[in-house]
Symmetry: D2
Subunit: 355 residues, 4 copies
């Protein structure tokens, strides 16, 4: 181990990162004296205001501890037990919550369908909607869940989002967005947060903070106020209401108001972009999808994959065999350069490359 | 407001308190570099070890964010939908989780029964068990949940715990303990943590940290290993698995290993004891239950209650009209003395008391 | 056993009775040739029309196999998991469905409250509604379930029904009626079916046929059409949609159109009335509640109870010790006379009574 | 409509048929006098014995009203909310219960996979089992459900059943059989009922009677007694316990003891076989799968499909475009001959055929 400082930050997931300074500072400031419990405190009030400022609307905000909880409680609130939600077959909703949406909803089906680059399109949704429409032997469609940025590192364009949500509303079904990496999508789109959410027809959003610099922080955000009816009860019943709420809510204030959330995302996207640029010339390495957000997906020879792991890198091998490298707010340039350098060394081109 | 510093810490609940220094320090130390997600990190390993040390046994530990989640997932794991759990009619399980146990279990009944000083006894349990035993028109008993310390500020003696759990095991039903304030019970009993839990027949424990100095930290602890089977899936499905687990687990390490958890509880109990002593002589004030832990319950004239609120104190009026004053790890002696002094001023004896 | 033909029909429950001739005839007629499945057949169409005629309104009708299913699916459709239904503490909903309402709703609480003669009143409902209103640590009230006739053999007056349902609608909660013995209530009230249901403010009815002469036949009836939205899916998901629907639906046609359902109920009530008259003079026997419908509840010495059982009678001892004798559509006058005669023989007055 | 008597029995489904004489006779005999409720009657006792005789073992028998209920409650009893059941992607469990298995289990996933001729095989099951095995972000496999006869009209051989169930038991997961058309499979296999169920490794069976001559009659049968633990409560909670149980149970006695159930199935299979033989020579008609049971699946030109419907025939067009013709216990030879004749008339060969 001659180079021990080399792979100290890994590329397995952005949830391997720590708490960013702006969130930490807010947390520290909130740890003063006594404060009312269950969210009736000034820190939480300020955090709600910060979220409403970000989305430039009077949305209803419910902080949760995990993305699984945000997604599952949102779906449960939209769908009754005999209704289904449509999502992409790579969606966390289908693959990463251990059946949380089915559990919290009491049995709603999660109907997952394919679509290019991790994205749903009108045809796919319409087909799933119509397949058994009106036949009570199969549940009825009630919602669509879009992941922005997607699980394949791409980002829905505003046009596509609008197209999809228009279809949903014509069909009378709701639009949920899993925004675990919404910030990464925003900096790619260079648009306002409102543009990619409620202005694009999103009714309910799971807004992610954890992967982007918070300790444990997500939020269910209702842009459609009617849909929020009763959600405070569901939220409590689901074990997601912090008694010492300030420690869950306060970090959002510094995180959002300081602009850290966008800076963090921009940094992570930039690192991924640099990685993409570095890998492109390598003969044996194939980029699997266009890179929009903070992850690079590649197809690579198994000996390269093995070699990287032996050099101490961690990353994620997906079910379909592609390999994902995810950058975080705290990934450093040196990490990316070291990774690229090891890639070069391990591939044919790299082998030929003078050092 | 001539005395603005007087009522800065309130007595409404121990969850109005902050994060204690030992927990904070562990949190800070955990916020270094990258760490694997979902609990496969060294901080979590250390926290598990700390819990196992405390209970002097190789128990299985699952950290959760809230006590509602700990109680609800534990009950759901013990009971099938057609089975019921017996608890005291003051129990958080029945009154404070917004139906979480019924929800997480998919419909199990929470059968709440009376009992002196917030405690279940053999007779009550046996009656509830036998009432419809063997009649499939009513669910079957499967578990008993004991709250230690109780919601009335009392503490089960080791003898009573043993008596109750022996009965349960004779009947073939499980013993769950809601230990949101277990530390306060322990310092009252002056016994080992093992004595009031697994040695007393407890199968599953909800172990509370939040009220005693953590930010958001509870744990479901299985002393009975067979019962833990599959719980990691339930835990994930329930939205309680932190992706950045270290920030949930690490604080436990400093909190437990330093002994802070017992010091905090001892301090809170001592404050409550001082308050009890201060209120006892007051003619119009009646102590509702013996004080064992960190809360004092009193019956008091409504004008005194009103007067205290006007002086800026916060406290909790229970459904039965008694009033609860709860001390925390960060309650200061001056808070208690100021409260006693205001009490004196507002009561007859106080009114007569020379200043 | 000198009189073996004496106790051939028992008084344990009206569900010990058989299928009445009018229902049987319809069943037999439906068993001809082929018919479309799942309710798209002419027999079911006719049965719907028969129900709508009875209630003189265009209600929505869903036939179910059991009263447990009718009650549980109705409650599940009215309440979300974090809402509760209020019922009398003698209600089948609370005591006789093995937790079905909690199960089908995915965790809704059944809040059962006392009330004179098996009936809820405004005060009781208001108290249950207000107890925790607006506090998200406890579920929110969403529905009230009234049992007509009650489990204590009494019948709500139209005035009382109206009073209660007016309160519910002021509070914004729904009115469900468990009408397992609605026919018995109707013949007591001598009113139109509409009067004691939708005209009295009932939103959803569980309409019972089984106890009154069908094989297995209940119906969930929505007078409030909006509430029925999606119920056909819930009904199917709940395993209550007969593939050969005609055999569930057809018997209703003869049963209702012939007037048998009211004749049957009138006969059962008359038998109970005769029994009441026969028992009234007996010194040791105390009528527990006024008799309105087809059951007589008495308090009686344990040696009389024992004596009756030894003579071969069956009846039901309630949890509170009262004893219920229930008459059916097929109870015969001789059964009642024989029972009275045995009562007389076993009681002091009876002992003295010249034969 | 010169031939009005021609298409009086249709081929849409075997659930379009009526009640067979042997079942009717038992029903009629059960409608005598009074009988204890909830299954504590002699008719039900006899029906249990009849089922146990059929399977030549002391199995536990629970009668249900529908196949949806039998399948859904069985799955719910085998799987906890975070476990999944594997079935064929044509299975009723996945497509025909409106999400009943997910609902009754409180969220268990139904993982449906492809397989030739409607049958699961070892490879498919193993792949589904291993895909995420040990990863708590996805539910764990707990059961496999096999449909015998399959939804494509084929029948698992005893060897294949054994192979599959051996694999399941090696993996530690349970084997459920959806036997809605078990009788049709049995007469094809010409084996004992025990051979294709418990002797072939089936733990729990949904045993169908409705499609084969009962009014509404299915049964959940536990060959594995441990798995039945508590099922009587689930059965009641699920709204499947008839109060007048004799009318659900009694028809089974005549149906089974008389041998009608096998005669009915043999007749239906024979009709299907005749239909198959009649269609084979037709040039434009292609048999989609080998015919083992009582259904014939064909691919046919849309004008032929249209023509048949115009002639008054009803049958079922499957999602994949194949067309199913199902024979029943009460299909008559003339129905089959008429259908074949119309087919001939509508196809080229038929068109050329001299009349």
């Amino acid at each position: 181990m001659e180079k021990p400082t080399k792979r100290i930050r890994n590329f397995a997931s952005d949830n391997n990162s720590g708490i960013c300074p702006e969130a930490w500072e807010s947390l520290e400031r909130a740890n003063q004296g006594h404060s009312p419990a269950y969210g009736f405190d000034t820190y939480t009030e300020a955090a709600h205001a910060a979220v409403q400022d970000v989305f430039a609307t009077n949305c209803q905000v419910f902080f949760t501890f995990t993305g699984s909880a945000a997604n599952s409680t949102a779906v449960a609130h939209l769908c009754r037990t005999y209704e289904f939600v449509i999502c992409h077959d790579s969606a966390h909703l289908a693959l990463g919550e251990c059946g949380g949406p089915e559990f919290f909803s009491g049995g709603s089906k999660v109907v997952s369908i394919p679509g290019p680059q991790g994205q749903l399109d009108r045809t796919g949704i319409l087909t799933a909607y119509e397949a058994r429409h009106g036949d009570f032997q199969f549940p009825a469609a009630r919602a669509v869940s879009l992941t922005q940025a997607t699980e394949m590192g791409t980002v829905y364009s505003l046009e596509k989002l609008k197209e999809v949500s228009d279809l949903c509303h014509e069909l009378g079904i709701w639009v949920h967005m899993d925004g675990a990496r919404l910030a990464n999508a925003l900096v790619h789109l260079e648009c306002d947060p409102a543009d990619t959410t409620w202005r694009a027809g999103v009714d309910v959003l799971s807004f992610g903070g954890t992967k982007n610099g918070l300790a444990n922080g997500e939020a269910v955000i209702f842009f459609n106020h009617e849909l929020a009816d009763g959600f405070q009860y569901r939220w409590k019943q689901s074990g997601q209401v912090a008694s010492k709420m300030r420690f869950l809510s306060a970090p959002w204030t510094g995180f959002l108001n300081s602009g850290a959330w966008l800076r963090n995302a921009r940094h992570a996207n930039r690192c991924a972009s640099r990685l993409e640029t570095g890998l492109k010339p390598l003969e044996d390495i194939k980029l699997a999808y266009p890179r929009h957000a903070n992850s690079v997906f590649v197809q690579l020879p198994s000996e390269v994959e093995k070699g990287l792991r032996m050099k101490g890198w961690s990353f994620t091998t997906m079910p379909n065999g592609t390999v994902r490298f995810t950058c975080s707010w705290d990934t450093q340039d040196v990490d990316v350069e070291n990774l690229i350098s090891d890639f070069c060394e391990l591939t044919k081109i790299g082998g030929n490359k003078p050092t």
